[in-house]
Every structure is written in structure tokens, then in C-alpha cells.
């Protein structure tokens, strides 16, 4: 299955992935309209310390702890992509505690949010990958 992988060697800590993520999940067509005057809450985050940086988003684990921990079955895995059913989520945040990567976070308009590889928005393919200027984030089979 194709997954989003990061290569810290090429990450420039420019944080553009975060903005392309926030834009993609706004489902707006104009980035300015989507992101002007707001503080973004993206599903991918650049971790950095000193000269090392890399972007972290959901790994879509083969044995996902978040899905195992979910008390209502809101998190499920289908064709390798872990997605959230917002109608079932009760906001217990067990998944946020379970995820070893810190890739699940409280959402702005939903209870929780996580990377669903842009399958849940108008784009259909990961926009962080498309927007990365240095191929530090790739979407590939490994």
C-alpha cells in the first residue's frame, strides 16, 4: 500500500506541508480564503530540534493502536487507510493517548482529526506531498 513517508535528510523545516494540509482539509478552492487570518490546525506537523526536522502524520500502521483502543468503533481501517467516522466518535480521546506518533489531534470542526491521505477531501491524494518543495515527503509503495 502507498503511504506517506518522510525523509528528514531533505526536510527544510519550511512548514509548507502544514499549510497545504490545512488548505486541503478546508475544502476551499482558494488558499487565501481558507487560511487568511486563522491559526492553522493541520494533520501533519513538522517536528524540529536544532538542525534536524521532519514532518509527522499518521503512519497508517498495519496494527493500529488507535483502532484497537477506539471504544465506539469510530476508527476503522479500510484498504490500509485509517479513517474516522465522526458520527460514531464520542470524544473520549483514547486514540490521541494511544497513538505513539502523536498523529491524532482534536479537530476544529470535528471531535478528532487525523490524516486520511486526503481521501476524505476534494483532492483525493496527499497535498502535503504535492506541496513539498524538496521531495522530503513522498507517497509511495515500500
Amino acid at each position: 500500500m502507498k503511504r506517506v513517508y518522510v525523509n528528514e535528510k531533505w526536510c527544510l523545516a519550511c512548514h509548507l506541508c502544514e499549510y497545504y494540509c490545512a488548505f486541503a482539509n478546508s475544502n476551499e478552492k482558494d488558499m487565501v480564503k481558507a487560511l487568511k487570518d486563522i491559526v492553522i490546525n493541520p494533520r501533519i506537523r513538522v517536528e524540529q530540534k536544532d538542525n534536524i526536522s521532519f514532518a509527522v502524520s499518521c503512519r497508517h500502521c498495519e496494527e493500529p493502536l488507535c483502532v484497537k483502543g477506539c471504544i465506539t468503533g469510530a476508527l476503522s481501517i479500510k484498504d490500509g487507510v485509517i479513517s474516522v467516522d465522526q458520527n460514531k466518535c464520542v470524544g473520549c480521546f483514547t486514540c490521541i493517548l494511544c497513538c505513539p506518533y502523536g498523529a491524532i489531534s482534536p479537530g476544529d470542526e470535528s471531535v478528532i482529526q487525523k490524516c486520511e491521505l486526503c481521501t476524505n477531501n476534494i483532492h483525493g491524494s496527499p497535498q502535503c506531498v504535492k506541496g513539498c518543495p524538496n521531495n522530503a515527503i513522498v507517497f509511495e509503495e515500500r
Partner: protein, 501 residues
């Protein structure tokens, strides 16, 4: 410091309606032009630090940025132009020689732009390269004067060692040190993929790049940095650098601050000490001396590598080339006055040397007249900007061209001409690890390969139009060229007719 007399040359124009405060401009500018004002919640810029490299413009996700040339002006004066006044202010402040990067930017004539190509009509059919074979392969090196046959009448291979290229393009000498590791890796990988050669420049060959040896020209220059047996044996050819188009008569100077880590090892220069390439080779004061170096390099590589002698295009270039053709060199490389550099004194770069078109035409003519044209191949560089420049250069008599600036532009260079500051925002002319990593060779090499293959297609199209199906038939074919707006003397030197003749 008293009054600052310099007004910033560029202004950062930020469309506040489009700026989303993502701060990518701030994070990506090594010159620290951009900053975020937390109280006002807006991005600000300090125009005086901007070098107009477009890194922020290219990465701004909402296209909120552009750089404009300031319309602030001096009182108009055709003699004392603003740039000249500013240079005096700079020198009065610093007391130093002015430094510049990349090629001569001044408005001297570009002869390539005053030469037009021929095409076939009616009486001689043009060739469609998509349907018919078209040869762009070239062989560089000295060619035998006669055909030899053995006693059975079979041909004897009396070719000397040479270079085979899939297209008459090579990446010109840019040292590891003047450009980054990633830029070098991009060039090396692209050369292998495209079936051409790149050139180490006078910086030695990093141990990681020995694997690209068969696509490498190793350079021996006046400082002899990084030269030893394995280095000479690693490449496909050896180039002796006598001069550089951007700074004829001038040596090089890589400051000690840049001689760190791998660069120190590769150049074989102690860390922190300046790497100074003298202006002349201290063992070469005549063609006979040059011959000695040519043959010592050949001897040390067992006569398996062709030797290139690179010179800058200067006033008596034809006579110099004639001497080189008799020195035992296999290839002469001529660098025109528009050739690039990582750093050169501004006055030298802008005022010394001659245009490559004129130098090439006069060298080719001189070598033909003396019957020694086949002794050597001629490679020209010094601002080959596109495939039509290549076709024109070959029709003027070149065997192949060197591209340096064009290759860097393919890697992202925006010709901001600030290489000498060492803070290249595109990761090319810098050694700062945080900037070097901005050039991912996986992306860079593909862009170079794309450029070369695009030019190859265009060369074929232009040759096909002329009814020529091989580079060999185009070389020195000056009947395919016509000048526009050139005077009698220029046409005579170029050896071409005026359009309409």
C-alpha cells in the same frame, strides 16, 4: 558609520490581501529579509538585504510576493549612471576591490543573437527527425591525418584516445567548494544519465564521485588542488585550466572559512587555510612548458586520457590556440567573456576578454589555415544559453559546447549574482549544510537530464530543417549562418555572409 548612501536596489512587494502569515519566506531567506511582527500580526521585510534570488517568491504558497526593482532614481545622467555612482559609494565605504558573481551582465553585443540559421526549401529536402535517423553523437580528441590499412587491406584503428558524447554538450568546470556537494552530485548523475561529461573544476574529486569517473573531466589548474594519481586516473579526460572567461589573467581564491571538512580533504588543503590558485601556472611560461605538462599528464595516465587545455577568449586567442594545437593537447576549450564565476573582481569580469563567437570563428579559421584543425577538437563555453546557440556555435566550427550557467539555472539558480556571499538560497553556491540540503540531487539531476534531452530534440529539429542529419555535417558549415545588423569586419571575422546575400 556615518550616512548610508546606498538605497536598496530591490523592493519586496507583499500583497497583504494574499499573505497568510505562513512565514515560509522568513524561514527560507538566508539573508534575513523577512520577519514576523507578532504584535501587528503581519510579515515585514528589510529591502536592503534582498538580493532578488526569488526563493521566497517561488515558495510563497499564495503568490503574495514579488520583487520589484526600485524606481528610486538618481538625477538622470547617461554617463554617471546609478550603478556607477553606487559602486563608488561602496568602495568609498569599504576601500575594497568590488566582487561580482556569474557572467558579465553588461550590454555588449551578443553575436549569437545576430546570427540566423538556414532552412531547406523546395530544392533540398528538410528532414523530419521524428521519422528519420538523426545523429547527435560526437567524438572529441585529435583525429588521425590519414587512413591506414594493414597488408590485407583492412582498416587499422589509428584513433587516439578520445571522448564520446551522446550530444555535443558538457557541463563546464565548477569546483566542489564553489558549488555544493548536492550540486556536484546532480551534475555527475545527470552526466551519466545523459551520456555526457561534467567537470570537477579545480576542487579535486570527492571520494563519493569516483563512481562517475567515466563521465568526469578532472581539472588540473594553477593551484593543483586535489591532484594525485588516482584523481588523474579517475576521469575520462584531464583538463589543464590556463584561464577562465569570467576572469582572464586572474587566479582564484577560496577563503579559508570555506575550507572545512570534506572540502579540505578533497582539495588536499589544511582546514581553515585559504586555497589560492595563482594567476599563472608557475611552471608554464611558454607553449613548450605547456607541452611538458600535457605530456607529464599523459605519461602519468599511460596515454589513455585525452588532455584538454582551457583558455579564456582574449585578444590574440587564435595564435594561442595554434600553439596549444601543437602542444600535444587533444582538445582546446575556449571560455568567452560572458562565462560565469563564483567570484571575480567586478572590473575584470566586466572589462576583460572577448566574445566567444568571434574567438571561436577566428580560432577555427586559423587552425584550418594552418592545416592543424584535426589535431584538436574545439569546445566553447561562456554563455551558451540555449540549443540554437549550440547549433550556431557548431556551425561556426566548434565540436562541442560547455554549459555552466545554464546548468545551474536548471538546478534553480535565479542569477541573483550573489554567489560570493556564500549564502545561496537555492543550495547551489554555498557550503552551509542548512542551505546545501535545499538542493535535492534526486530532483536536480532529473532537471539537468530534462534540459539536455530537450536541447537534443531542438538541435535535431534545427538540423533537420537545414537538411542535415548529423552533427558532423554541421560542424564548420558556416554557409548555414547569416548575420543581421553586423558590419563588414564582424562578418569577415565570423566568416559568414549577411542575411540576403
Amino acid at each position: 558609520m556615518g550616512i548610508n548612501l546606498l538605497y536598496p536596489e530591490y523592493e519586496v512587494a507583499r500583497n497583504m490581501d494574499r499573505c497568510i502569515n505562513c512565514r515560509v519566506c522568513e524561514r527560507q531567506c538566508a539573508n534575513e529579509v523577512h520577519s514576523y511582527d507578532k504584535e501587528k500580526k503581519i510579515m515585514c521585510s528589510d529591502d536592503s538585504k534582498c538580493v532578488n534570488c526569488h526563493r521566497c517568491v517561488a515558495l510563497c504558497p499564495t503568490r503574495a510576493l514579488k520583487i520589484v526593482k526600485t524606481d528610486h532614481t538618481f538625477k538622470e545622467n547617461a554617463n554617471w549612471r546609478g550603478s556607477i555612482i553606487n559602486e563608488i559609494y561602496k568602495q568609498a565605504e569599504s576601500g575594497a576591490v568590488l566582487l561580482s558573481s556569474m557572467g558579465n551582465p553588461n550590454a555588449y553585443p551578443v553575436y549569437f543573437d545576430k546570427i540566423l540559421l538556414n532552412a531547406s526549401q523546395v530544392t533540398n529536402p528538410s528532414i523530419d527527425p521524428l521519422r528519420e535517423p538523426m545523429e547527435t553523437k560526437v567524438f572529441l580528441g585529435s583525429k588521425p591525418n590519414s587512413i591506414q590499412r594493414d597488408k590485407d587491406g583492412k582498416l587499422v584503428n589509428n584513433l587516439s584516445c578520445g571522448i564520446e558524447l551522446s550530444v555535443p554538450i558538457m557541463f563546464s568546470a565548477m569546483s566542489y567548494g564553489s558549488i555544493s556537494y548536492n550540486a556536484h552530485e546532480s551534475l555527475a548523475r545527470a552526466a551519466r544519465e545523459a551520456g555526457i561529461l561534467y567537470n570537477t573544476g579545480e576542487g579535486g574529486l570527492h571520494k563519493d564521485f569516483y563512481q562517475y569517473g567515466s563521465n568526469t573531466i578532472v581539472q588540473v589548474a594553477s593551484g593543483r588542488f586535489g591532484v594525485y594519481k588516482d584523481y588523474l586516473e579517475a576521469g575520462a579526460a584531464i583538463e589543464i585550466k590556463m584561464g577562465q572567461g569570467a576572469k582572464p589573467g586572474i587566479g582564484g581564491h577560496l577563503p579559508g572559512t570555506k575550507i572545512v571538512g570534506d572540502i579540505s580533504k578533497t582539495r588536499m588543503v589544511p582546514e581553515g587555510s585559504d586555497a589560492i590558485s595563482p594567476a599563472p601556472h608557475h611552471d608554464i611560461y611558454s607553449i613548450e612548458d605547456l607541452r611538458q605538462l600535457v605530456y607529464s599528464l599523459k605519461e602519468s595516465t599511460n596515454y589513455t586520457k585525452p588532455v584538454i587545455v582551457k583558455i579564456a577568449a582574449v585578444h590574440n586567442v587564435a595564435a594561442i590556440a595554434s600553439g596549444i594545437a601543437r602542444s600535444g593537447a587533444d582538445i582546446i576549450s575556449i571560455d568567452g567573456f560572458r562565462g560565469g564565476t563564483g567570484a571575480a573582481p567586478t572590473r575584470i569580469r566586466d572589462n576583460v576578454g572577448i566574445p566567444i563567437e568571434l574567438a571561436l570563428a577566428s580560432v577555427d579559421q586559423r587552425l584550418r589555415e594552418e592545416g592543424i584543425r584535426d589535431n584538436v577538437s574545439v569546445v566553447v563555453g561562456g554563455s551558451i544559453r540555449n540549443s540554437s546557440d549550440i547549433v550556431k556555435a557548431i556551425a561556426l566550427g566548434a565540436d562541442c559546447v560547455y554549459i555552466g550557467t545554464a546548468a545551474l539555472i536548471a538546478l534553480g539558480c535565479h542569477l541573483c549574482r550573489s554567489c560570493h556571499t556564500g549564502k545561496c538560497n537555492w543550495g547551489i553556491a554555498t557550503q552551509e549544510p542548512e542551505l546545501v540540503k535545499r538542493l535535492n540531487p534526486d530532483m536536480g539531476y532529473k532537471r539537468l537530464v530534462n534540459l539536455v534531452s530537450a536541447w537534443k530534440h531542438e538541435i535535431k529539429e534545427m538540423m533537420g530543417g537545414m537538411g542535415i542529419n548529423s552533427i558532423e555535417s554541421l560542424r564548420g558549415n558556416r554557409l548555414m549562418l547569416r548575420g543581421v545588423g553586423l558590419n563588414e569586419k564582424e562578418l569577415q571575422i565570423l566568416g559568414i555572409k549577411h542575411a540576403g546575400e
